[in-house]
């Protein structure tokens, strides 16, 4: 469905870089129309789930932007999200997210030029990395080998962190359906399956689809809503 579209989502806090002059009416950067901006009251509100959702939905990369380290308006928000991204604080970023596609910037309000320069560089890096594999719901992993992941990432899909199992299966929110797909050992790291970095959950074996019952439907549903 979604294709290699090179979209970059920027999650920025209201008091970091002041981009108002540089955004068009749809929240995209005038200089880089592929980059869209979503504002938060504080970068500490950013959930790693949101980054995972962005990647899963087909974004090419995510920029997290908060205030200067040491100057968060709410004292600690940027420190929190930074530690979450680095894995030093729970909840963390799932291993399935390609770390090369996420950067974090800590810039004060007047540092617009720096932000634009870093964004431009990041977009260039993302172009080099190539397109993201689009999510393929309920299909075995026969997606074309467009990207060439490093060997280390092959074992990713099989190794969901145990913490995810603790997430209550009862969570009714449809949007959180991706989270619910448990990563049992059945997701054996097939060589083809390994290509899907952000799309590992969707490219699962049929047995997994049966286990989680409604989730692929709600998955498709939520995608259609978006």
């Amino acid at each position: 469905m979604a294709d290699t579209n090179g979209k970059v989502v920027t999650l920025i806090c209201e008091r970091a870089v002041d981009l108002d002059q540089h955004l068009d009416e749809q929240g995209r950067l005038k200089d880089e129309p592929n980059v869209s901006v979503v504002k938060f009251p504080c970068s500490g509100m950013i959930q790693p789930l949101m980054i995972e959702a962005a990647m899963k939905a087909g974004a090419s990369g995510v920029i997290v932007c908060g205030c200067q380290l040491g100057d968060c308006y709410y004292r600690e928000g940027n420190k929190m999200i930074r530690e979450r991204l680095l894995g030093q604080r729970p909840p963390g970023l799932k291993k399935t997210v390609d770390r090369r596609r996420v950067i974090a910037l800590w810039l004060a309000r007047p540092q617009i030029a720096r932000f634009l320069a870093e964004t431009k560089e990041f977009v260039g890096v993302l172009k080099e990395l190539g397109p993201v594999e689009a999510p393929q719901p309920a299909k075995p992993a026969t997606a074309p080998a467009a990207a060439k992941p490093p060997a280390a990432e092959k074992t990713e899909p099989g190794k969901e962190p145990p913490a995810q199992k603790a997430e209550p299966a009862k969570a009714p929110a449809a949007e959180k359906a991706e989270k619910k797909e448990p990563a049992p050992a059945e997701a054996t790291p097939k060589p083809e399956a390994a290509k899907d970095k952000g799309a590992s959950k969707e490219a699962t074996s049929p047995s997994e689809v049966k286990q989680t019952g409604s989730s692929p439907d709600t998955q498709t549903e939520s995608k259609q809503e978006s």
Partner: protein
């Protein structure tokens, strides 16, 4: 907001400082910790001075005789006889000045960057009280030297208290520890100076209580610079010597330390009634500063009770200690439940970022809405 231009200037200044010192060592980012550090310098140097200080006014003789032992001679002893005594004494004085300066800079920064209102009101009000305390403690420090200036300041203070209706005489009695200047007076000054200094710690507790992990110590890099500045001033601006206070004389000229003794200058240029009124109005204006700006009320975060697993991450992460873990209601599968103290909530959403179970929300910005928006953006065809 009327402080916006000042905020811009502050940010620009910090940008230049970041270029030199990096954000890890930028003193602006430790603006609250700087006066706290100077407080430790004051405690330490004050402790050393306290070891040799004698709080009496005995001066049977008008000049310093070798047998005379009183506050002034003890200070002279510290200054001239004890090795490094003059450095410790000067350190103590200039650390006091530095503390007032850094408090004022701290106050200005929180004002300009809009960090003093709503959920930060307790910090602001306790800060005003702390500033008043620090200024008064500094003044008592000048009384303790018991030189001519001290005598003039004491007399001026008594006159100022006389001008207060109703409670003025009681205040003067308390201040002098009697009806005239005696040994009891100086012992009182010492008690006020040291006792109020320790009560500063209590005030600081109130100042810090609504923050989790308050930054109270600058990194060593900044601490070295702070002490180096003090030592430099000590070396380049030696303490002036002075003459012992003589109760029979009335000296008319003395050096004014602008950090602490500006109220006395004010007393000389305006009638005392106006002086007290100015101080009162000034304090009230300062306390009311947060109420001059009216912005949207903060909508406190709300816990979705049936989703909360009691993992405590939100409580640990909340920068304002606004989330408390309480025992979960009976029948719950979990042990703890998060609850929000709405009067402390800043609406920042750090708790939302910490929650892996979608169990806490900002009412005006649901994270599910945000996630939907993100997905929509990610899927748009260009």
């Amino acid at each position: 907001m009327y402080t916006e231009p000042l905020n811009k200037i502050t940010l620009k200044l910090e940008q230049y400082t970041n270029a030199i010192a990096t954000s890890k060592y930028n003193p602006f980012y430790y603006h609250g910790a700087l006066p706290q550090f100077y407080l430790w310098v004051l405690f330490l140097s004050g402790l050393l001075l306290f070891a040799y200080y004698i709080p009496t006014v005995d001066n049977a003789y008008a000049s310093e005789s070798p047998n005379l032992i009183n506050a002034f001679t003890s200070v002279s002893y510290i200054t001239n006889t004890i090795p490094f005594g003059v450095v410790i004494r000067a350190l103590h004085r200039y650390a006091g000045d530095a503390m007032v300066l850094t408090i004022i800079l701290h106050m200005l920064r929180v004002w300009f960057t809009d960090r003093y209102r709503q959920y930060r009101i307790v910090q602001w009000l306790s800060g005003v009280a702390l500033l008043a305390l620090v200024l008064f403690i500094g003044q008592t420090g000048y009384y303790l030297i018991w030189d001519e200036r001290s005598l003039v300041l004491t007399r001026m203070t008594c006159t100022a208290f006389d001008a207060i209706p109703l409670i003025g005489q009681s205040l003067k009695w308390w201040f002098l520890n009697g009806t005239e200047i005696t040994n009891y007076t100086l012992a009182n000054f010492l008690f006020i100076h040291i006792g109020l200094s320790f009560s500063l710690l209590f005030g600081l507790w109130i100042h810090y209580v609504r923050m989790q992990r308050p930054v109270v110590t600058p990194p060593p890099v900044i601490n070295y610079i702070l002490v180096a500045i003090l030592l430099l001033v000590v070396a380049l601006v030696p303490l002036e010597s002075s003459k012992m206070a003589d109760l029979t004389q009335q000296p008319t000229e003395f050096d004014v330390d602008w950090f602490f003794l500006w109220p006395y200058w004010m007393m000389t240029v305006m009638p005392l009634g106006a002086y007290w009124l100015t101080l009162l109005v000034g304090t009230v204006v300062l306390c009311c500063l947060p109420y001059f700006v009216r912005t949207k009320e903060v909508e406190a975060a709300e816990v979705v009770i049936n989703k909360c697993t009691g993992c405590s991450l939100c409580a640990k992460d909340c920068p304002y200690a606004a989330i408390e873990m309480v025992p979960a209601p009976a029948g719950s599968r979990f042990k703890l439940l998060a609850t929000v103290k709405p009067y402390r909530c800043s609406g920042c959403g750090v708790c939302v970022g910490a929650c892996a179970f979608d169990a806490i929300d900002l009412p005006d910005l649901l994270d599910s809405d945000v996630t939907d928006k993100i997905k929509a953006i990610a899927q748009l065809q260009t």
